[in-house]
Amino acid sequence: MIQIKGLTYFYPGQERPALQDIDLQIPSGQFCGVVGPNGAGKSTFCYALTGFVPHFFRGALQGEVKLGQISIADANLGKLAGEVGLVFQNPFNQISGARFTVREEIAFGLENLGLPRKIIERRVDETIDLIGLGELAERSPFALSGGQQQRVAIASVLAMQPKLLVLDEPTSQLDPQSTQDVFRILDKLAGRVGTTVVLVEQKLEWLAAFADRVIVLSHGHVSLDGQPQKILSDEKMEKFGIGQTQYSLAAAAAKKKKLVPKSRDFPITLKQAIEFFK
């Protein structure tokens, strides 16, 4: 369970807060999507959940972020590393460079945690199975495609078995197939393993299909928060500069031309769209 109370944060030397008065509760095992226009504070939100704000960036933090019993502001990054995981946009930058095979790359974080070798081996094997990296295990992480590298990056963080996994636009540089792979993995994690997943993502169609909840950030605070069905079909989304799913857009156009009765609910997934246009 993550509890955020009155979170306000200023980057060093900034007069305007990057995050403002955020109050949220995210239960364990929830798959939570975060959307918002550029500069809305999405990345900062990710950093606040994982301790990089304030421990890496410094600056002024008010309010509280608690992961279970741990207060993020009081812990240090080294200690948090096993508890929270953060995956970034650029796959290349997340490859440590200090290991020569995918298998060893995944083990890198566990080695830093000082776990016994037997446990490292077991966890690496489990993670390789979970993410489906078996065929790549003995390859150099640098000899992989962007999508494969991103899966290695996710695996490397997952092997550390964090209670909370935060991903900052992990699919923005990936092709549709790799995007689908990533979403399937996250779905499996939240559903079966019980990891809490917080995902910043621009691809609304994917959030509609997989997320349990969508949070809309704008100007550093939470503007909308609720089930994807409710949030993604909300007309205010356009106002926040986020846009809507392809399905909602098509539905709106159809309604405008009176091809479909006005009373029908906006679809946000392919399945709903098929129903809608019947």
Partner: protein, 260 residues
């Protein structure tokens, strides 16, 4: 294995030796190169000690090629310099007023042979040891983990750096930058290349640092390793014996020098 490393993969005894054992052999070669008195001694050591080890490790070919590639310029330059500037009894030929002596030539070759022997030990280590195993062995013996990280990433990231430079250069070419010009103009072309290359790398640094933190890199306390370095009593005994022998050689050579 991709990256700028000399390592030649293999499953031989030499490959499986503990990195520190090979490091000790390298140290012995360095000591031998510094203490042995003459050219025949040095060459004999190279042939009797290093070549068989390289042959057992099935790295004889790259070992010889690399050795000669490095040593050839030394042989030529040292022969010329020592040959002309060392006085001696046996002139071989002269260039104007400069006389090339046999003694000088021999002195040049001896220095080159010293370099060859010292370099050979290091080459044997590099060709038969995976860099991460070497670094692991050294961190286990107290080297800071951050230093090992710097060495290992340098090996792997440098080729990526070259790839990126290539992409930037191609993009600039596509926009009309002429790169097939003479060597001086070409040096000037480094300026538009370095800007984007260095800037983009600096911008990556923050994200890289965060990604490392997320992997508990700065966590205090002992680190463990997935890799397991094989070691044995025999190797431990061999290491101590070689170390004692090498130190003995140093003492002996000093004693001979000052006793005379």
């Amino acid at each position: 294995m991709r990256g700028s490393t000399l390592f030649v993969p293999g499953q031989t005894v030499i490959h499986h030796l503990h990195p520190v054992t090979k490091l000790v052999i390298t140290f012995l070669c360095l000591v031998l190169a510094g203490t042995l008195p003459s050219l025949p001694w040095l060459l004999t050591c190279f042939v009797v000690l290093l070549l068989p080890l390289a042959a057992i490790g099935r790295i004889l070919r790259p070992f010889l090629l690399r050795s000669f590639a490095v040593i050839a310029p030394f042989v030529i330059s040292l022969s010329v310099i020592q040959g002309f500037f060392t006085p001696g009894q046996t002139p071989l030929f002269h260039l104007g007023s400069f006389i090339f002596t046999f003694e000088g030539w021999l002195a040049g070759l001896t220095v080159a042979a010293r370099i060859l022997l010292a370099l050979g030990g290091a080459l044997l280590l590099m060709l038969s040891t995976r860099p991460d195993r070497l670094m692991l062995a050294l961190t286990e013996r107290g080297m800071p983990g951050s230093l090992a990280y710097v060495v290992l990433t340098a090996i792997q990231i440098f080729p990526r750096f070259q790839e990126r430079a290539q992409v930037i250069q191609e993009a600039q070419q596509a926009r009309g930058l002429e790169i097939h010009v003479n060597i001086f103009r070409r040096l000037g072309l480094l300026v538009p290349l370095m800007g984007p290359l260095v800037l983009s790398s600096i911008m990556d640094t923050e994200e890289r640092a965060m990604a490392l933190e997320a992997r508990a890199f700065s966590r205090p306390g002992r680190k463990t390793s997935l890799l397991l370095l094989e070691d044995s009593v025999w190797q431990r005994i061999a290491r101590w014996t070689i170390m004692v022998a090498a130190l003995g050689l140093i003492v002996l050579s000093f004693w001979l020098k000052f006793a005379r």
